[in-house]
Amino acid sequence: MIETHMDRELESLFSGTYELGGLCERALVDAVRALSQRDKKLARDVIIGDDKIDELAREINITSFQLIARYQPVAFDLRSLEAVIRMALDLERIADLAASLARTALQLEVPLPPIPSLRPMGERAVEMLNLAMSSLAERDAEKAARVFAMDDAMDDYEDSVVAELMNAAMDTREDGARFAGTNRLITVARILERAGDHVTNIAEHICYMITGVRVKASAYRRPKPE
């Protein structure tokens, strides 16, 4: 089998995707830290960094369409390009979500009650993204499929965070500002859960690229209660 020009182009696009993934991971980590440590400077950095991420995602998109026009790719090449385009979109969304978290961090004026599940939830999201990126690098569909099960944990975390926030809200009812802050934190849980969903999408794209079968993450997860 000869190495074609397409092989090199695809490799370069994958590299761009890893880079994009790395930037998104960084953004998530920083956003969660900015939130829990009320680090406004860090939060602002995350928001500024979002522009760079958008730019990279757009470049990947344009290059992919150019390759389609030029090479009329089929089979693996075609599926790879489809995956690259879709992953860039999901990664860009994750970065937007991180920026959202950062903005929430900027708006918090008062110290938060301790929410133990928040940090692990953030770490979990980052772990999922990491796993997805390495499964792409190793072209390992089974590894990508493990991401699906991890999303179950995200749901659990979300429930925990909400419960803890409810408790904290009970305690701070008299302190109005704190109460409002607590409310805002529920959004944070939702945001992190959506980030997890996007990583799940990314894993689905990777599976399709490698196997040619469109898997649904729900097939790998525990059944949702009615």
Binding site: M1, I2, P73, V74, A75, L78, R79
Partner: protein, 252 residues
Amino acid sequence: MTILRTLGLSLSYSKNAPPALRQISLDIEERSVTALIGPSGCGKSSFLRCLNRMNDFVRGARVEGRVLLDGEDIYAPNVDVTNLRRRVGMVFQRPNPFPFSIRENVAYGPKLPGGKSRAALEEVVERSLRAAAIWDEVKDRLDEPAASLSGGQQQRLCIARAIAVEPEVLLMDEPTSALDPMATARVEELVRELKKDYTVVIVTHNMQQAARVSDSTAFFLTGELIEAGDTDKIFTTPSDKRTEGYITGRFG
């Protein structure tokens, strides 16, 4: 509905050489376009020529297995081969009109059994030229020599000539490889039209052409049928690694 089916078709050109085709079993659906692809020497043209027994003319060629047209084996002992070739027509790689006029070319096939009136022949000629999308270009010069047409026109004339005998199946052996891109596009468009009335089996070394024009694709490699199926599936998710390697241009 399957109109043409091969069962364990094997072909060898001589006792000493390796077989040109090994145990090919392929179904061809009625009124569809099936593309046969594969690298040079993979046997796709040999396979095509088995379908209308043109390989009979090659001395020493031996065929095993069965080829069923409408359920009947075309290699059975008492088969009328000339009638078979009327039911399964062929268009060749290089346009090969006879050195006669345009009209004579198209009327050649229908005239062979004899007994057709002048009017009937005229009607067949016009109908076939229309079906081959070349009527408007030649209707005023039917008596001019076919050689005066351009390459692309000659090939469409050959298609008209082939369909003048009203075949059930039309075999096309790399019909556009000698044509320029414009003429190629017209012939491809014609093939898409023809499949409404005829079953088309087309050999092509141009993958994109196979992808554009066919409903099913069969991939051949050194005399074997590696994979066959819906064109959409073959070109997005082929099952065999060799198929994928060939269609992405990584070998062959």
